[in-house]
Amino acid sequence: MSEKEKPQTWKSWFSEYGSRLLLFARQQTRSEADAEDVLQDAVLRLWRADAGVTGVGASSAPNSSGEPPDLALAYTAIRHAAIDHARKNGRRVAREQKSEFVVDIADASGQVDWFGSDGLEQEERKDMIEAAVKSLPEKFREVLTLKIWGDLTFVQIAEKLGIPQNTAASRYRYAMENLKKSLTTTP
């Protein structure tokens, strides 16, 4: 791929997978703004890693051929970026708590639609499922997200999250059971 084609190829890649990547970033953060920051940082790391730039936080170069990374690698970059973001935020919050000027920013993650309404015929059903997904504990929800909307296997999920494969499978099962229960008991 020529250098001229590379930006357009990456733009096409992001247009296709950006929504799934943002969904995963939301699982790794506490607000929509944080999710967007993390996604932006992760994409920047991948882009720079592909260019062969070292020492910028990218764990490894995807392929250094100009081709965008596969989804699994992109999820890894998002997770690393989220960890770094959480560390920075932790320090910032500690500083703010020491200051008399504390800005309380509301967590708006629950108010943002994670899913579009054109997937299911009934908007009401979409809202029910979305609410049920959001109510899942984070560690179950991230496995569900990677499995359903990331199309990853349990082996890949275990690798991304640094957990045993059986744990990934059991978390998925727990998530599905809870969703099923929520959706059948919801009036």
């Binding site: 590379k6 930006p7 990456w10 733009k11 992001f14 247009s15 950006g18 929504s19 799934r20 943002l22 969904l23 967007e36 920051d37 996604l39 932006q40 994409v43 920047l44 882009w47 720079r48 730039v53 070292t54 020492g55 910028v56 000027f101 800005v103 920013i105 943002v112 639609d113 994670w114 899913f115 579009g116 054109d118 997937g119 299911l120 979409k126 499922i129 979305e130 997904v133 569900l144 359903i148 909307w149 099962r173 599905m176 969703l179 099923k180 959706l183």
Partner: protein, 165 residues
């Protein structure tokens, strides 16, 4: 009933849900990453004193790193015995690097700024906090094509006063 069949219907329903696309603003920010190009300044024809100063700093930094290695080697000599240090000959290595590598690139990559929102300064005046991140990058190369790359992350935070009248 096994697990797969048990959740098939729900899985299919979940897969129909399409995650919402990133906002146009976020997409624009990310596309700007792909459009950004590093500005490379050829070091062979420096015309300004400022460009020369760009080189003095990283070379000094590289020298400091080599001096650190030398210090560590001397410490190891004290703790591990003389054999290890005798084989490394650190002074000779420094001379070889200085002679064979020459600078070829200096540039920087500026990332999109982050708006951190409004904060209040010590006078209780509102200020908009904007954070800029960029990397200063330098590269040396020797006759055999071996490269040394130095990337220095930089960060600047600007406070822009907000008019309240």
């Amino acid at each position: 009933m096994n697990d797969e069949n048990e959740f098939d219907e729900l899985e299919a329903e979940l897969r129909q849900l399409k995650p919402t696309a990133p906002s146009a603003e976020l997409e624009g920010k990310i596309f700007s990453i792909f459009d950004s190009e590093e500005k490379i300044v050829p070091i062979a024809t420096p015309q300004h004193q400022e460009t020369i100063m760009h080189w003095i700093r990283p070379i000094a930094a590289a020298a400091a790193v080599l001096a650190l290695f030398l210090g560590v080697a001397l410490l190891l000599r004290g703790s591990l015995g003389g054999d290890v240090v005798e084989k490394t000959e650190p002074k000779k290595a420094i001379t070889e690097i200085d002679a064979s590598f020459h600078p070829v690139k200096a540039g920087n990559l500026i990332m999109p700024p982050t708006d951190e929102g409004v904060i209040y300064d010590e006078n209780n005046e509102p200020q908009r906090s904007v954070r800029y991140k960029y990397h200063d990058r330098y590269q040396w190369i020797d006759e055999n094509g071996n490269r040394i790359e130095l990337s220095v992350p930089q960060e600047r935070r600007l406070l822009v006063p907000i008019e309240t009248d």
